[in-house]
Point group: C2
Chain length 218, copies 2
Amino acid sequence: MDIAFVLYPNMTALDLVGPYDVLSPGPDVTAHLVAATPDPVLAGSAMRLVPTTTFDELDHADVIVVPGGEPYDVLADGAVAAWLRKVHPTATWTTSVCTGSTLLASAGVLEGKRATTHWALRDLLASLGAEVSTDRVVRDGSVLTAAGVSAGIDMALTLAGILWGDTVAQGIQLAIEYDPEPPYDSGSVEKAAPEVVDFVRGVIASGFSADKDEAATA
Amino acid sequence: MDIAFVLYPNMTALDLVGPYDVLSPGPDVTAHLVAATPDPVLAGSAMRLVPTTTFDELDHADVIVVPGGEPYDVLADGAVAAWLRKVHPTATWTTSVCTGSTLLASAGVLEGKRATTHWALRDLLASLGAEVSTDRVVRDGSVLTAAGVSAGIDMALTLAGILWGDTVAQGIQLAIEYDPEPPYDSGSVEKAAPEVVDFVRGVIASGFSADKDEAATA
């Protein structure tokens, strides 16, 4: 089973690595890290991941995992969406984490489908034609989408159960000791205090403004 | 604030990337990925991470994060422990995820300290002199240790609260939408079904046997 994990600049590492450590140890899995070029890809401020293959080289995958990141850059670039148009028809399962769903939508994968995304980007996903859900993991046919960042772990365990059955999926959960005990209860926009929500919205908005300023002056 | 994320061959990517995506976006953080050499480091079957610096070059860090992986290899190698002996005295916080605690112990950091690790490796950690706890996150003085793999997210959010206060830590939790909904409840050895525990113990034991065979023939 070939599983393709998509890399692109300014992606969020945890979006990718949650599903990577859940799915890549599965039975008979060959994991591919696929990007536009063979050069290492930056995720966050310091982490660079080395692709194993490129969009040109990889024509098929049984499972595709698209992480989130700074979507405006990648939506504008189009290389990820072009690859998804080529490979999604060959895949048994196409999945996304966080704003990765906006990339699926821009490739036409979410036409008429229910999907989820990071809580702060629901309007963007809706504007791209998906039927937006606020659920943490959404399955519509052969497409699985996850909410923000850490939700990729829940999505990948759900997919592991579909692919390999409950015992294997539960074994993977135990192997990664996924019995969460967050020290706070502010992981969703419904649960966080208003000042916390405002703080995060401000940070996200300033990041997007900076992106747009950079794009305008590039 | 300089945060050093330690890389070594056959580490577990999620052990590192959970804390990386919680801590590296924090205020005034410079993240370093430090390894024995500048060459990319393999994590799992396909992922290679590019160091930003080396053990020789990096003499100080305010926070150290040591991921888990296949501990026998690294305990035998000693390069990580040697670096920890040099830099731990300069750090305000030294932390580990999963079997990363065995590396702290082998460097003498856990002398007389309470610490946790992956549920399947508690005996190994005890044999290295730590007072082993079954808690998910353990703080003893300036040392924070986490249980297996995904527990690094909980540990890092705990540390974020200590470093930057509750509002920032809660904001980070909301930004990564960490409101877990595992599809199964088998994330701890106390909760998983006996056949699931046996399955995982078998996989782990066979991995260690293979390591030892490789070491014997190397």
